[in-house]
Amino acid sequence: MKDAFGLPQSLLVLGGTSEIALATARRLIARRTRTVWLAGRPSPALDEAAEGLRALGADVRTVAFDALAPESHEAALGKVFAEGDIDLVLLAFGILGDQAHDEQDPVSAVRVAQTNYTGAVSAGLVSAAALQNQGHGSLVVLSSVAGERARRANFIYGSSKAGLDAFAQGLGDALYGTGVHVMVVRPGFVRSRMTAGLAEAPLATTPEAVASAIELGLRRRSETVWVPGALRAVMAAVRHLPRPVFRRLPG
């Protein structure tokens, strides 16, 4: 159960090697979290991530999960929920793709969309139903500022996050009053493996900062969290820029 400050005792990470998710898990283990499930494609990296969290004192288990195989989600996640209540589901899987390459290779572009959007639709619905059965829990969805307005430089990724973001908002409204809380997290540029080698955008942040914002959002039962918080105002302005001006923005 979550405590008065929204801190979970059990955590399910979808996308168990995500740096933001692992930073969040470390933070929550330091407070109340004792049980962690890391869901992802079986890999040495997933085992390593589990080992790292075990060293912090949590009971960590891994479960095979592939965002690209939505037909398997019900069985894979059903197994986790059958073992006990999950207080927090962190939907953290996603890929950035390679915009320049993907524009030439529609199949790999679709893979970005299938992972980030349709994979999340399926995993999100399966998790939401399980949380609703429990009558409590939070579903935290890692979206991105890239979904707020499509940019020339990353619109394939951005459009997938836009879909995810809209889906998560709608899901949050659908679950209002059921005891299940959905929180959409929109980080800006996060310095991580995913963005290694890319030119840094203004207001860049870190996985740890996102983790800290998630903890605060849980306490406040927030529905939308921007990281850093200043992005809320920045993106409100950016959203309304006329197209010719927006096109000329750097990046």
């Binding site: 159960m1 409590h136 005891g179």
Partner: protein, 459 residues
């Protein structure tokens, strides 16, 4: 009563929180109006179990059950029998202490123990084994329970009497041994419905502890409001209010109260608004309140006549006062440490004061002997309770540190107030926890009775 008992109890899904308004969860709300309906609701509760709920005054998640059934017991509200000679009452578990006062005071009887609100049910009073300002004299509520009827997981209704393991597990057992249906409670005789109250100020914590130790035994009721925002030499300054039921001859000869000395008079102000912005209670506003509260108290006054509500239940005068903390809600932290642990108490008060927690409802009380319940809260010694807005940054980690100090001093926190304890500390705080778990495992192997509290703390 009879006309509508053959219809099904009201069932709806709803979001439930405790009085602190934190951590809402959703449950099926069932409002049984008869013992039979209660038994049906328990039998039909499904895999996520059920828990009885009274008037929702537990601060945390004790009367919540996410995804399962929450039995609103206030429909079981009959006072069955009053022994006017012997001073006992037999009533349903859903009867409130307020109702009992309305019924009993005109007959010259008072409830044996009342907490800071009279809007708790008899069932809740037993489940939390509540205490009041008279704990140092009279002990907790369940010490005055002569017997109770308990609906257990197997569907049986058992008569449970003091001295048995089931009674001791149920007293303070947070509703996890079954649903209390009725109770027979021993009462306190009174001549009037007024209180004779002595008030004095204590300059600091040491002064307060000394005054309580030296003269508490002279009073049936005793409590101290403590200013936790005062710093330096004034750390722990307090206002003591102590007293007893006023005897008839204490009333002035021509007073209006003489005509009807046992009348139960209450006044209620308008309710707190449904929506209060966050951040009304800050260090500044609470500090100002505390300063005024301390200064308005007389340095020393004896024999003031007060009505029962203003002496025992000042907050009941403002319905829904819990809303003033805004949508973020609040946490009540109440702990107890034994006699001889005054150093730990000083340390904790010092830390709270240094941390500048905006707490205007802080009370300190000296406890008497421990009570029979395995999970009963009181230990002979000291208890401090304070309310803190839940949105105070870093509050969770700060209270965790206090927990360590409390547990280190052999103390404990009160489960009826708790919404955030680290489960690992529970066994150290409650040595009979293993017995409680064992009895539950035997009595309720399928986990029919379960609450968010029991899930969170693995009770």
């Amino acid at each position: 009563m009879s006309a509508d008992t053959d219809t099904a109890p009201v069932i709806e899904w709803g979001s439930v929180t405790g009085w602190g308004r934190t951590a809402p969860t959703t449950a099926r709300l069932v409002r049984p109006r008869t013992y039979e309906e209660t038994a049906v609701a328990v039998r039909a509760c499904g895999a996520r179990g059920s828990i009885a709920r009274g008037l929702g005054r537990a601060y945390g998640d004790a009367a919540q059950n996410a995804g399962g059934a929450v039995l609103d017991m206030t429909g079981l509200d009959r006072v069955h029998a009053i022994d006017v000679e012997g001073g006992t009452v037999l009533c349903d578990a859903g009867v409130s202490l307020h109702r009992l006062m309305e019924v009993l005071l005109p007959l010259g009887w008072f409830v044996p123990v009342t907490p800071g609100t009279r809007y708790v049910t008899v069932g809740g009073a037993i489940g939390a084994d509540i205490h009041g300002k008279n704990h140092h004299v009279s002990g907790s509520f369940t010490r005055h329970v002569l017997s109770l009827e308990l609906l257990t997981a197997d569907g049986r209704v058992r008569t449970v009497t003091p001295g048995t393991p089931l009674f001791e597990a149920t007293a303070g057992g947070m509703g996890l041994t079954g649903v209390i249906l009725t109770a027979t409670v021993r009462l306190q005789p009174v001549e009037t419905s007024l209180m004779s109250v002595d008030t004095e100020r204590a300059a600091d914590l040491d002064d307060l502890l000394a005054r309580l130790t030296a003269t508490d035994h002279r009073y049936r009721y005793s409590v101290a409001w403590i200013d936790l925002l005062a710093r330096g030499a004034a750390t722990g300054r307090a206002v003591l209010t102590r007293g007893d039921h006023a005897p008839l001859d204490a009333l002035p000869r021509r007073a209006r109260a003489r005509r009807d000395p046992l009348a139960f008079r209450t006044t209620r102000l308008p309710a707190a608004p449904a929506s209060v912005p966050e951040g009304l209670l800050t260090r500044t506003t609470v500090g100002l309140f505390n300063e005024l509260w301390f200064r308005k108290a007389p340095r020393s006054r004896t024999g003031q006549l007060q009505r029962i509500p203003s002496f025992f239940h000042p907050l009941d005068g403002v319905p829904h006062w819990n809303r003033i903390y805004g949508p973020g809600g609040f946490v009540q932290y109440q702990f107890a440490v034994g006699h001889g642990q005054e150093e730990a108490l000083r340390g904790i008060v010092g830390r709270i004061s240094a941390r500048r927690c905006p707490s205007f409802l802080a009370v300190l009380k000296r406890f008497g002997d421990a009570d029979p319940g395995w999970l009963s809260f009181p230990v002979p010694g000291w208890t401090l309770a304070l309310d803190i807005p839940a949105n105070l940054p870093g509050l969770g980690a700060f209270l965790d540190e206090l927990d360590e100090e409390v547990a280190g001093a052999g103390g404990r926190v009160y489960l009826a107030k708790d919404s955030r304890l680290r489960p690992e500390l529970l066994a150290a705080m409650y040595p009979r926890l293993a017995d409680f778990r064992a009895l539950r495992a035997e009595l309720d192997p399928d986990g029919v009775f379960v609450s968010d509290l029991s899930r969170r703390l693995d009770l």
